[in-house]
């Protein structure tokens, strides 16, 4: 029976990009649909009734939602080029860093991006403290997955291009090379890796989009109290 693999994502979503990466890295044949989130397709609403969000992977008609869940599903279903190691302890560590990325890094960077004035200073401070854990974890490693790209690299990969976008919009450097030499090197190596390098959404389009997303926060902060 022919495999049918469909990925619902958007042109800009870093979560959708993760799923895109793993399918490409494994050489899986798939179709993708870039959704318009202001006008969600019936397929999206039907496939992810709980959250109504992207990405959704639909494999032979069966939907899977939540990007980290999708990554593990793809890794278990198509066994070539494994993302997760065999050893249970190493697997637990890989999952830990992927979760840390979503629970802590993402939230702290987003706060640094949307907050203003003194709140922004504090948010940037917190983001830097969070990023230090990543810098420490990269000691002696080329990627978070070790010698090659693994689950945590795909989970944290959004840093490699969105950090530059955020820095351009807010006019503040978040990941300085002197303070984060390993993380900076990783960002560069990941960004230029085969498959990954062809997939980045257009930089200018991202800057425009995120600048627009930041506007309401700037406006709210400018309101007289």
């Amino acid at each position: 029976m022919a495999e049918e693999v469909k990925l619902l994502k958007t042109w800009s979503s870093p979560f959708g990009l993760r799923a895109f990466w793993i399918l490409k890295l494994k050489g899986v044949q798939f179709d993708f649909i870039d959704e318009d989130l202001s006008n969600k397709s019936p397929l999206l609403l039907q496939s992810n009734p709980v959250y109504k969000k992207v990405p959704v992977l639909i494999h032979n008609g069966k939907p899977i939602s939540e990007s980290l869940v999708i990554l593990e599903y793809v890794d278990e279903t198509w066994k070539q080029n494994p993302l997760l190691p065999e050893d249970p302890y190493e697997r637990a560590r890989a999952r830990f860093w992927a979760k840390f990325g979503d629970d802590k890094v993402l939230a702290s960077i987003w706060n640094a991006f949307i907050k203003q004035g003194k709140e922004q200073e504090e948010a940037i401070g917190l983001a830097i403290e969070t990023l230090k854990f990543l810098e420490e974890e990269l000691k002696g490693k080329r990627f978070f997955g070790g010698e090659k790209i693994g689950l945590p690299d795909l989970a944290l990969g959004w840093l490699a291009n969105l950090i530059g976008v955020f820095e351009e919009v807010i006019g503040v450097k978040l990941i300085e090379k002197e303070r984060f030499p390993l993380l900076s090197a990783w960002m560069q190596e990941f960004a230029e890796a085969p498959v990954i390098k062809e997939s980045w959404p257009p930089h200018e389009k991202l800057v425009t989009k995120f600048r627009a997303m930041r506007e309401p926060y700037v406006a709210a902060a400018a309101q007289p109290k």
Binding site: I64, V69, E72, Y73, T77, Y89, A92, F96, F133
Partner: protein
């Protein structure tokens, strides 16, 4: 060589209880070390430097953190007995999805049912009931989330039950009245010795929550 398994935990933690149930299901012998969360031990800080939280599983000196990750680790290491995650990749993905849903939705909403008041508390109650109804929808007519057998999702959700009495008392609502199917599932889980032994007494939890409420000055 004998396995050395240590669990750093706090008696009332619904996250710690998950790990205790998983270890019991697998018949793993371990040393339980109760932690003082208001005065964290050097061991806890060393074993979980990133989050400084419990539960932490220390297996032959190596630490595993985050309860859902610990449970999967336990399932993979002690794989010859009582499988917790399903065998099929699609079923596994569904199980992971629902545990992620529980982690995203249950804790913050349930906490607000006792840690807030007025409108905020009312909104939290409504949201909490919605979360339980969504979970009830997923359970459907199955005996367990895992189907015929108690599994990963059941294990990750049931520890919240010992806190229900606190939510209901402070929030002034009844889970049984709102979601009877949910309570039927709870009863089935409690018939399992591993679950019944791992859940602390709900009245003790209530006393603890009362103290917490005073500490954060809810009234």
């Amino acid at each position: 060589m004998a396995d050395e398994v240590i669990l750093l935990d706090f008696w009332a933690s619904m996250f710690g209880i998950r790990v205790r149930i998983a270890l019991a299901e697998k018949g793993v012998k371990y040393e339980y070390k109760e932690q003082d969360l208001f005065n964290k031990s050097p061991l806890l800080l060393r074993m979980n430097p990133v989050h400084k939280k419990i539960p932490v599983l220390i297996h032959n000196g190596k630490s595993v953190c985050e309860s859902s990750i610990i449970v999967q680790y336990i399932d993979e290491v002690w794989k010859d007995k009582a499988p917790l995650l399903p065998y099929d990749p699609y079923q596994r993905a569904q199980a992971r999805f629902w545990v992620d849903f529980i982690d995203k939705k249950m804790y913050d909403t349930s906490r607000k049912t006792w840690a807030t008041k007025g409108e905020e508390q009312e909104a939290a109650k409504k949201e909490f009931i919605e979360v339980l109804k969504t979970l009830g929808g997923e359970l459907g007519d199955k005996p367990f989330f895992g189907g015929d057998n108690f599994g990963y999702v059941d294990l990750c959700l049931i520890p919240y039950y010992c806190w229900f009495y606190s939510y209901e008392t402070f929030g002034k609502f009844s889970v049984e009245a709102e979601c009877p199917k949910f309570i039927a599932w709870v009863t089935r889980c409690l018939q399992r010795e591993t679950v019944a032994k791992a859940l602390p007494d709900e009245k003790k939890v209530f006393e603890f929550v009362s103290v917490l409420r005073e500490k954060i000055r809810v009234e």
